[in-house]
């Protein structure tokens, strides 16, 4: 890193130290299978160039952060993932969280909504309002956002296969509030490739799915420039079993596929790439996670510049949201999760995230209660205002360990991306089951390392205790499904059926013609056509995807 100080003397001194240490190893053997080296010195970062590899925050290659002042000017957005039951109940939770100092919304949709079914569909039985809020029509979206000023609050929506339809509903609500599209800020997840390999809420086959994504890119860049039309999911790939390097590499490979599709559709990279945002996880290995965020920023900037010739700084910046890892939380001794979540969140902040969602301690058991949701938010506020880590930019830069790890993760991720390129890109690699197989292998190896005791999991395989589960957990009202279906039926009786039919026919025509679907989806939303009705038409036109079932 600073060549002037790396003299033969240091190398010699280190070799001599190693030799002296070896003698003691017989008496104090090191733990086996650790991923990190015993010690990092300037010799490990000799290849790192301070100016071109680390540089300055706000400047290429953005290793130190995307903003020049980072949290000294403004903290990250505290954006808790929330949504359950009906639109009214979720709206009340949003208002509560905003009242507690949360600074942005993050909408969780229930599974029928995520898979494009109305609440009265056969497959929706038992799922309505469970893992998120049920949205059938524009009426639900109006209730969800009631009293929330959409020109001031930014909204992130975890929605993928039917993302274009939910965005259309959001635009329609904003219009009714008198907010112009150009004033809207927020994100739709809209990342279908990771649904095929990790998250499972796909609807259509890859080709029409890519077309929907390209349509939203084009529409957003022209009409709602401050909106992020995609949030590429690294998080879900990691949670489904990937390791840190695979998390970065597979998400980047997916994003490369979207960019290539958009360019093939005639868009210019600097017109849409500034709208690409990301979601990463913060897992438990504190140092590795910090290095991962730094490595990801640098690698993405280089890919955008070198591979796609992007000139706009915003195209090169990896702007990301972090959600702390839920899969590592335990149902045993759930209070331990408070501590895990705190250092996960700290790694995200030290890694320079733009926004953060912290899990609640009870998420291995149920949805968070109001109390546990508040504690999760307070965890972020404690880090922001009391820990001091937000007072200087990228405080761990220059640590030999962190810089060496940053370098290693970038190199290993680059090698993975080259392998995926050789397979024909992300879509082909997914079709061949490559990423799924790699993730399943990592997940199984991880689980076995816990069961053999090689990896200690506090409260699970070590430091266990007899437990009585006496805590209070949130339960979703079991009548929510019936209530939602009743609402939907009442609305269907009230709306103008002829207008709905005409709008659905128009959606079908545009789906066939290949023109941009967004304007007609907005018109359809305004007629109170159901999400399931709109997606039903698209299912008929596009077909449905059926996945691999390999273990």
């Amino acid at each position: 890193m600073d060549d002037s100080k790396i003299t033969p003397t240091l190398a010699q001194a280190q070799a001599a130290w190693r030799e002296r240490t070896e003698k003691g190893l017989a008496r104090f053997p090191e733990r086996k299978n650790l991923a990190l080296d015993r010690l990092y010195t300037p010799l490990d970062t000799a290849q790192v160039d301070v100016l071109s590899d680390i540089g300055f925050p706000g400047e290429y290659p953005f290793t130190r952060g995307v903003q020049p002042t980072m949290y000294r000017a403004r903290h990250w957005t505290m954006r808790q993932y929330s949504g359950f039951a009906t639109a009214e109940e979720s709206n009340a939770r949003y208002k509560y969280l905003l009242g507690q100092g949360q600074t942005g919304l993050s909408v969780a949709f229930d599974l029928p909504t995520q898979i494009g079914y109305d609440s009265d569909h056969e497959l929706a039985l038992g799922e309505v309002g469970k893992v998120g809020v049920a949205i059938d029509t524009l009426a639900d979206m109006e209730a969800l956002l009631d009293g929330i000023p959409l020109d001031k609050v930014s909204t992130s929506m975890t929605i993928n296969a039917p993302a274009a339809v939910l965005l259309a509903m959001y635009i329609a609500v904003a219009e009714k509030q008198g907010v112009a599209p150009a004033a809207l800020t927020g994100t739709i997840q809209n990342d279908i490739l990771k649904e095929y390999i990790a998250r499972g809420t796909y609807i259509f086959p890859p080709a029409p799915s890519m077309r929907l994504i390209t349509d939203t890119f084009a529409y957003c860049s022209r009409n709602i420039p401050k909106w992020n039309p995609i949030s590429v999911g690294a998080y879900h790939i990691r949670e489904a079993g990937a390791d840190a390097v695979q998390e970065v590499a597979f998400a980047f490979a997916n994003a490369i596929a979207y960019i290539e599709a958009a360019i093939a559709a005639g868009l210019k990279v600097d017109d849409f790439a500034p709208g690409i945002s990301w979601i990463f996880t913060a897992d438990l290995n504190f140092l590795e996670e910090i290095a991962k965020f730094r490595a990801a920023r640098r690698l993405w900037a280089r890919i955008m510049k070198e591979r796609f010739g992007a000139h706009d700084k915003k195209s090169q910046m990896l702007r990301f949201h972090v959600h702390t890892a839920g899969s590592v939380l335990t149902s045993q001794q759930p209070d331990n999760n408070v501590v895990r979540i705190a250092w996960q969140a700290l790694s995200a902040v030290l890694g320079g995230t733009q926004s953060l969602a912290t899990c609640a301690k009870d998420e291995a058991i149920a949805l968070p209660t109001e109390d546990s949701a508040r504690l999760a938010l307070r965890t972020q506020q404690l880090i922001a205002y009391e820990s001091g880590v937000a007072d200087t930019v990228d405080p761990l830069a220059g640590s030999w360990c962190i810089e060496a790890l940053t370098d290693r993760i970038e190199a290993e991720a680059r090698a993975y991306i080259a392998r995926i390129d050789a397979l024909g890109g992300a879509a082909a690699a997914i079709e061949k089951g490559y990423m799924q197989g790699e993730m399943a292998n990592s997940a199984y190896a991880f689980q076995k390392s816990i069961e053999t005791g090689e990896r200690v999991k506090v409260g699970v395989n070590t430091f266990t205790q007899e437990e009585t589960h006496s805590g209070e957990y949130l339960t979703v009202d079991p009548t929510v499904g019936e209530r939602q279906v009743a609402r939907l039926n009442a609305l269907r009786a009230k709306r103008d059926a002829a207008k709905v039919s005409a709008a659905l026919a128009e959606v079908r025509a545009v789906a066939r013609s290949g023109e941009n679907l967004m304007p007609t989806l907005i018109s359809a939303a305004k007629t109170y056509a159901g999400l399931g009705e709109i997606c039903g038409v698209l299912r008929e036109e596009f077909g449905e995807y059926s996945a691999h079932a390999d273990i």
Binding site: L111, L125, S327, S331, A364, I365, Y444, Q447, A547
Partner: protein, 129 residues
């Protein structure tokens, strides 16, 4: 000795299949024959597969909160096919308070997050072996 045949399945719309796949591999490594259905299975589909594949055990993975709806429907589909004696187990994000009623309706055991796969394998070997 006849090898234990296990059907591992993801009912409903939930896409979280990491746990289902890990448990399926653990069953396979334990010498069981494993059939994994993949996602989006209805209770009818699961009962029908169990019948066709002549399995001894059905393992359901649920992280979506739909367990109180799906288990009763599956049990009635199994009864309709004379399969009520199959060993039925479940795993995933299922609150402790819901477990007694699931057991009362015929679910043999529920394994929550953090359960070692060895414990699940031992349970199945003891009850279905």
């Amino acid at each position: 000795m006849k090898r234990i045949r296990v059907l591992v399945t993801k009912p409903g719309l939930d896409g979280h299949d990491r746990g289902a796949k890990v448990v399926a591999r653990a069953f396979r490594d334990a010498g069981f024959e494993v059939i994994y259905t993949g996602l989006r299975q209805t209770p009818e589909m699961i009962a029908e597969t169990a019948l066709q594949e002549d399995v001894d055990v059905i393992g359901l993975s649920l992280l979506s909160g739909a367990h109180n709806t799906i288990f009763p429907r599956l049990i009635s589909e199994l009864k309709a096919r004379g399969l009520e004696d199959l060993l039925l187990i479940g795993g995933g994000v299922i609150p402790e308070g819901d477990i007694p009623s699931l057991k009362a309706m015929g679910v043999a055991e529920i394994f929550t997050p953090g359960t070692p796969t060895g414990k699940i394998v031992d349970f199945v070997a003891a009850r279905a072996g």
